[in-house]
Symmetry: C2
Subunit: 326 residues, 2 copies
């Protein structure tokens, strides 16, 4: 894989694609590559774009890409596939984007699917971002589709989180209730040419004053109309301002350290589960336990705990630490 | 807990509430109770109601509850809290329902939240259903809010799955694309008083003929207007018909065995992850590993795999079975 690492660091897009596919497949060769490139990461600015469906996230990502490209920066776009049966918009947006930027070698576009993982961000997104970073992308735009927990999870991967809302929906109130406003570094009221935009911006601004917020960064509330590029330059300036703030306050390093910790923990958990599922197919004792559960001879929940406890001496971190009532 | 088990089996609602809370907290005492009541389960008919938001699922659940109650059956309603920052409708619907059925001791209503779990159905839903079953509920209605993977996960817990759609949205096409139609045992085109209802029903019926489907059950497509109770009696009859079909074809037992298997596997995985997270807080070697990852001395993904491999001899199911390239 050493050759692949060299090609990746040189910015080779086919190698990049191939490595992302390895990650998606859960191929353990990818771990070696990630290890080799780790020291070459940390340069890219990771910008998360989230919000409910219909807020114009794809268009915002598109306009930011144009702007970054006009300044000579390279851009990677990661679309997080929603895998919701009732929101199929992401793929379409992706195809349109693909067409626009197809001939521009300074733009790399990739969708990452959840593959059987329920909601949230696919866990490999963090690793994909590091591959993109090492391959020389200046700006990495991560777009999540507004379903499930992905809106909240975006703050686990992005340096700067943009939350896009639209005037007519009740999004602001919903977002307030659910605490999603706390993850936004910059608010956009997109489609600001519609009725109610300034009023909504005022509502959000008012709500911000009640929120705890970050010590020295009051999330700005911007009005944009991404379709006509209105407000996009201001947005871009604010994004740079936020990056400068993070760097000067040492918060960038803190956020990234926390992100690395999370990735480590999640990878252990994923891999434990994956290995367990493999063993279940072949280990006679596990097959017996599963059959007893299916046939009603054992109760699923308590049988699962019993199994873990029987292995207590073999894997100390499987020992429960809190067993009594709280 | 023996006393609690007896009270639960006698249908005591306060005990039921308290036990569900124990499950939500991850309290291991709940395992003992689940074990004791296991032989008293299997009588209830579990009906899942899913579909996009705005399809009128809460009203359908409400009308089915009225109908079951008028026949003297007891009903439990489990609302699965979406935990999506952008869909806060569930709680409101719950409150309205609560008011309507507050004085009826034959209706038990409970929302189950996902608590940090990303999307899908909260894993404890399966255990909650068994508690409700043992406590004597004749009908258990599980309503999921249309976000993330919960639409697909409903087939892991329900005997009969109702998929509610509404005429005007593009739901039918989305559902077709995403394969969610395959989980439906009964289709509803709700709000059938609106334009396009019969056309949509025809589209769904046509699509069904292309789908693989179940051997002897062609999912019927019903028109309902739940607000005015139109079509609810027909729906109820179809639900009974489906239950009879499942029983006569021995499919009910098969579905339930599969459900028990899944619950066992998921509980092992959840509990492994939970125990690991607890140990991470205290185990000096794990704390060191985490610090190295955070500080950039170790790369998260490969460090996670290395950790698991170092424990290989201690827990055999943590051994990877497929390590090479595929």
């Amino acid at each position: 894989m050493e050759e692949a690492v060299q090609r990746l660091l040189a910015g080779d897009r086919r190698t990049l694609s191939r490595l992302i596919t390895l990650l998606e497949k859960g191929d353990l060769q990818a771990a070696g590559v990630l290890k080799s490139i780790d020291q070459h990461t940390g340069r890219a600015h990771v910008i998360g774009v989230t919000g409910p469906s219909g807020a114009g996230k794809s268009t915002i990502v598109d306009r930011l890409t144009d702007l970054a490209r006009s300044q000579g920066q390279t851009v990677a776009i990661v679309g997080v596939d929603p895998t919701s049966p009732f929101s199929g918009g992401a793929l379409l947006g992706d195809r349109i984007r693909m067409q626009r930027h197809y001939l521009d070698s300074g733009v790399f576009i990739r969708s990452v699917a959840s593959r059987g993982q329920a909601g949230g961000l696919p866990r490999i997104v963090k690793a994909v971002i590091r591959l993109l970073d090492a391959s020389g992308s200046d700006v990495i735009l991560v777009e999540t589709v507004g379903v499930g927990q992905s809106e909240l999870a975006i703050s686990d991967v992005a340096d700067t989180v943009l939350l896009a809302l639209v005037p007519e929906s009740g999004d602001a109130i919903q977002a307030l209730k659910a605490g999603v406003m706390e993850i936004a570094d910059i608010f956009l009221v997109n489609k600001a040419d519609r009725n109610g935009a300034t009023q909504m911006a005022a509502t959000v601004t008012g709500a911000m004053q009640l929120a705890p917020g970050q010590p020295d960064w009051v999330p700005p509330v911007l009005l944009t109309a991404a379709h006509s590029s209105q407000g996009i330059q201001d947005l871009w300036d604010k994004i740079q301002e936020h990056r400068d703030y993070l760097t000067s306050a040492s918060l960038l390093a803190q956020r990234r350290a926390q992100r690395r910790r999370m990735e480590f923990l999640e990878t252990v958990e994923d891999e434990m589960a994956r290995r367990f599922r493999e063993h279940v197919k072949r280990d006679p004792a596990l097959i017996t336990a599963l059959t007893e559960v299916a046939e009603g001879k054992a109760e699923p929940f308590s049988a699962a705990l019993r199994l873990l406890d029987s292995r207590r001496t073999q894997a100390d971190w499987l020992t429960p630490l809190s067993t009594g009532p709280d």
